[in-house]
């Protein structure tokens, strides 16, 4: 073994609905990978996966642990493990286009904890739209107390200009409702009341689960004797602290696809490609541009809910290694999946459910479990199921290309071997360690520096204020550990505030991002698997 060598190690973890992947990296070298079924309690699966990946390595050299997870997006897509949220909108009542109006019905049923349109809001220039009626808020609090609601999202008209009313509502509710959790829209969203409100509602509905997941992650890593800094990947590929993830899980909602696409770029060495990530429950298909996932411009649906977050444009199909294969019906494969119970319920593991894994094993595409247990599957079912899967994935790949460009297709994920979409073989790439692309992508997490500050224009120009904000954001990214020379501005926005004392002011938001320092040396690689 050569792992007595010097240099820090990075541990990447991806907690999926089916598998928990871990990868140990030194610089640009993958030292070891592991893939363990996600456990019902999440934590023991992480422990097992990390133990397998770090076996034989000195964990005290791990200086950074970065985690990505599809837990939050799966919760939204499947409308489960979400808390009901009371929506308070500060506006002119009755509200036009009230909260939850354009939500998918299943998601609304899970999240809608009542709608309260209350007097409040600001005008575009900071004047009051309506005064806050504290008595009215008090009555809402009493009702929430009576109905047992403890999760609240508050969204005021033009709150990004002036957040005082939202904050005051939070004070009143906190006083009256012990244990209440509140998301204030001005702390997470932009101009656009419907999109900001949706983000606040989803964020609050995810919080109880996010708390459990984050606690579980921290405990699992501590139990392994790893004391390195622990981070979660955000939607844009930058990392955030666990504490921030606990409060703003919505900002990590797309971390799974972001990580697997960046991991695919890294492992394949390709900057432009279509990435197909075949997991246990879903197959995600997206476009790589210059090494980064293509993001959606304009408003983007999160599980069918309109938001204005920047997230990778990914098509998610209900196809994975755990997908249930039906004997008839319009669709032979999925969207239901045995998920992490694959290793007990699939035929090749002695179970009774026919899964896509069993079909692939019967077709000779993979050797998993006991192939003899799938040998009895009818040849036409095997053929038709695989043809259907390949057809649907091929269609989505073509869709993702946007134009007819002859882009290579990179297949990654635990189920990569199960499929072979109709692509010329020379354009089809299956990188080494592609099964752990998501965990590899997590270790590539970049470092961001963000400024969100109000600048008075009394004594400086807008241009000067913007320059100052950019410089500050870059400085923050460098201080957080970004490599010098790699930092650039990725987002910038300013909102004029004409209502503040002194005449005119700007709220400026700037985000700078740089690469993590990846100093390290070549290492021997080891791989462990179950």
């Amino acid at each position: 073994m050569t792992n007595a060598q010097q240099g820090p190690l990075r541990l990447g973890i991806d907690v999926g609905g089916t598998n928990t992947d871990a990868v140990l990296m030194s610089g640009n070298q993958v030292l070891s990978t592991s893939k363990i079924p996600t456990s019902p309690d999440v934590i023991s699966g992480i422990g097992a996966s990390v133990s397998a990946a770090t076996a034989g390595h000195d964990v005290s050299r791990v200086d950074r642990v970065i985690i990505g997870t599809t837990h939050f997006i799966n919760a939204v897509v499947q409308a489960r493990s979400l808390a009901p949220v009371a929506a308070i909108r500060l506006c002119t009542a009755p509200a036009s286009l009230p909260p939850f109006l354009d939500w998918p019905s299943a998601l609304r049923a899970a999240v809608d904890g009542g709608v309260h349109a209350c007097s409040g809001g600001y005008q575009f220039d900071g004047r009051l739209l309506n005064p806050l009626d504290e008595g009215e808020i008090g009555r809402v609090a009493q009702e929430l107390d009576r109905t047992g609601h403890r999760n609240v999202a508050v969204t005021g008209v033009f709150s990004p200009l002036a957040g005082e009313q939202e904050s005051r509502v939070a004070e009143i509710l906190t006083d009256m409702l012990p244990g209440v959790s509140i998301t204030l829209s001005h702390q997470i969203g932009r101009i656009g009341v419907l999109e900001r409100e949706n983000a606040a509602l989803l964020n609050e509905s995810l919080r109880p689960m996010a708390g459990q997941v984050v606690d579980g992650l921290a405990d699992a890593i501590a139990d392994l004797g790893i004391s390195a800094g622990l981070y979660l990947t955000q939607n844009d590929g930058t990392v955030m602290s666990l504490d921030r993830a606990r409060r703003y899980p919505i900002t990590t909602i797309a971390s799974g696809p972001t990580n697997s696409m960046r991991g695919a770029a890294f492992l394949s060495g390709l900057a432009d490609a279509v990435v197909v990530d075949v997991g246990g429950t879903t197959t995600d298909i997206g476009l790589l541009r210059n090494g980064f996932p293509r993001e959606s411009a304009v408003a983007k649906d999160l599980g069918g809910v309109r938001s204005n977050f920047r997230i990778p444009e990914v098509t998610s199909l209900g196809i994975g290694g755990g997908s249930v294969v039906h004997r008839d019906g319009d669709r032979l494969v999925g969207p239901d999946s045995v998920g992490f119970r694959l290793t007990s319920e699939a035929l090749v593991f002695g179970g009774t459910v026919t899964t896509l894994t069993d079909v692939a094993v019967a077709a000779g595409l993979a050797v998993i479990g006991d192939p003899a247990l799938a040998a009895h599957l009818p040849a036409d079912l095997v053929r038709d199921a695989l043809a259907e899967v390949n057809e649907r994935i091929f269609d989505a790949v073509e869709e993702a290309k946007l134009s007819d460009a002859d882009l290579p297709v990179v297949i990654v994920g635990g189920g990569a071997q199960l499929i072979s979409p109709r692509t010329p073989p020379e354009r089809l790439i299956r990188p080494t360690d592609g099964g752990s692309a998501n965990a590899v992508g997590a270790t590539l997490g970049s470092i961001g520096g963000e400024v969100d500050r109000i600048y008075s224009l009394a004594e400086q120009s807008r241009a000067d204020a913007l320059t100052d904000a950019r410089d500050e954001a870059i400085k923050l990214a460098l201080r957080a550990g970004a490599r010098a020379g790699s930092v650039s501005i990725v987002d910038e926005e300013d909102i004029p505030l004409s209502h503040l004392p002194g005449g005119s002011a700007l709220r400026i938001r700037v985000k700078a991002v740089g690469a993590l320092d990846t100093a390290g040396s070549d290492q021997e690689r080891t791989t462990s698997c179950v």
């Binding site: 286009l97 575009f124 304009v298 134009s403 910038e492 926005e493």
Partner: protein
């Protein structure tokens, strides 16, 4: 005559964003308002201009204000309804049909949100696009009067305005809208069926629907969506690049500012500035105005052709800027006098976008 239901509404919403030329207000908001009403009252009847009787009474129903405010201060369908009722109460003449003032953005859809009135919507508008001022409609070119104008806001304020000119109506109504908080609903330009047939731009809602459908189909077929729109409207691709700066403010009753786009691909080394007052007014390439009002200037997401309104354009977006020809009436002397570049303070001669397209082909 045909019925407009939810499916037609979807396409109209996308297409009207293109005809909005950067403004007109977020059609998503309008779509939700109209969809609620269609679900409640059933599909809305839409008629062509040629189906109007000369004695019919038509008015525009339209939101007034700043698109950058509309996305926070959401208008209500009941305000559109009330504006028409207030106009009828004032004139004592029953309105038989309502029409969009502009085929761009939210205002293309506002008449459908007034479905509770039970009135048919006319497939025609007063612009063939969206413009930032009340008087910038084709009826003005024929001497049509904007007032009496009925205006309502979300607070319950109601106003009827009579003005000696459409320009005065714009000035007074804009200031009232500003005082109210920059979003109001109006009913205006009451006209007879005979006048509507002469004055209005025909078929614009169907055109918006066609654009929406074209965009969806060209995406599904992996054709270049931007090119598809440009060819369909015989316009020009003006620029391709990445948004590197946006300045935007809600000022004087409009959303005003500019977006700077740094060229990529064939436009590498150049930059373009889109200046907007609700709608895009001019496209300035390396300091030279290359397209202007009254033609339509629109930013679209480079790869999908998704139209991006001026109030939503953001740092980092990869966009194609296209120019689409306006209705022929805006290219007359009278049209250019009120809606040409000089009317907005740009001391340049108007050049039709098709000429820009033809010239760039010669250059190439």
């Amino acid at each position: 005559m045909r019925l407009i239901g939810e499916d037609e509404l979807e396409n109209i919403a996308v297409g009207s964003t293109i005809l909005g030329a950067g403004g007109g207000g977020d059609p998503y908001v309008g779509k939700l308002l109209a969809r609620q009403q269609i679900r409640e009252h059933g599909p809305v009847t839409m008629v062509g201009l040629d189906e109007l009787a000369d004695s019919d009474q038509v008015c525009f129903v339209a939101g007034m204000g700043a698109p950058g405010v509309l996305v926070e201060k959401l208008p209500r369908a009941s305000e559109a309804v009330r504006a028409v009722q207030l106009l009828q109460e004032t004139t004592g003449v029953a309105i038989t049909h309502i029409a969009p003032a502009e085929a761009g953005g939210l205002n293309a859809i506002v008449p459908f949100s007034a479905a509770a009135l039970g009135l048919p919507v006319v497939d025609a508008d007063g612009m063939g696009r969206a413009f930032p001022s009340l008087e910038l409609v084709t009826p003005t070119l024929y001497g049509g009067l904007c007032t009496p104008l009925a205006m309502v806001d979300e607070h319950g304020n109601e106003m009827v305005l009579r003005s000696p000119s459409n320009q005065w109506a714009e000035t007074i109504a804009r200031n009232v809208t500003l005082a109210s908080g920059c979003v109001t609903m109006t009913a205006l330009y009451q006209m007879t069926g005979a006048q509507a047939k002469q004055w209005l731009v025909p078929g614009v809602l169907t055109q918006a629907e066609d654009l929406g459908r074209l965009l969806r189909e060209s995406r599904a077929a992996h054709r270049d969506s931007v090119e598809a729109i440009v060819n369909h409207r015989r316009g020009a691709l003006l620029f391709t690049g990445r948004v590197t700066a946006v300045r935007r403010a809600n000022e004087r009753g409009w959303t005003i500012g500019e977006a700077t786009i740094t060229g990529t691909g064939p436009d590498q080394g150049s930059s373009m500035e889109l200046r907007f007052q609700n709608e895009h007014l001019v496209a300035v390439r390396d300091g030279v105005v290359v397209a202007s009002v009254p033609d339509l200037i629109m930013a679209m997401e480079h790869e999908t052709g998704e139209p991006i309104p001026a109030e939503e354009i953001r740092y980092g977006y990869r966009v194609s800027v296209v120019g689409l020809p306006c209705d022929h009436r805006w290219r007359t002397e009278a049209g250019l006098a009120i809606a040409g570049p000089r009317a907005f303070g740009y001391d340049v001669d108007y050049r039709p976008v098709e000429e820009i397209a033809a010239r760039s082909e010669v250059d190439a």
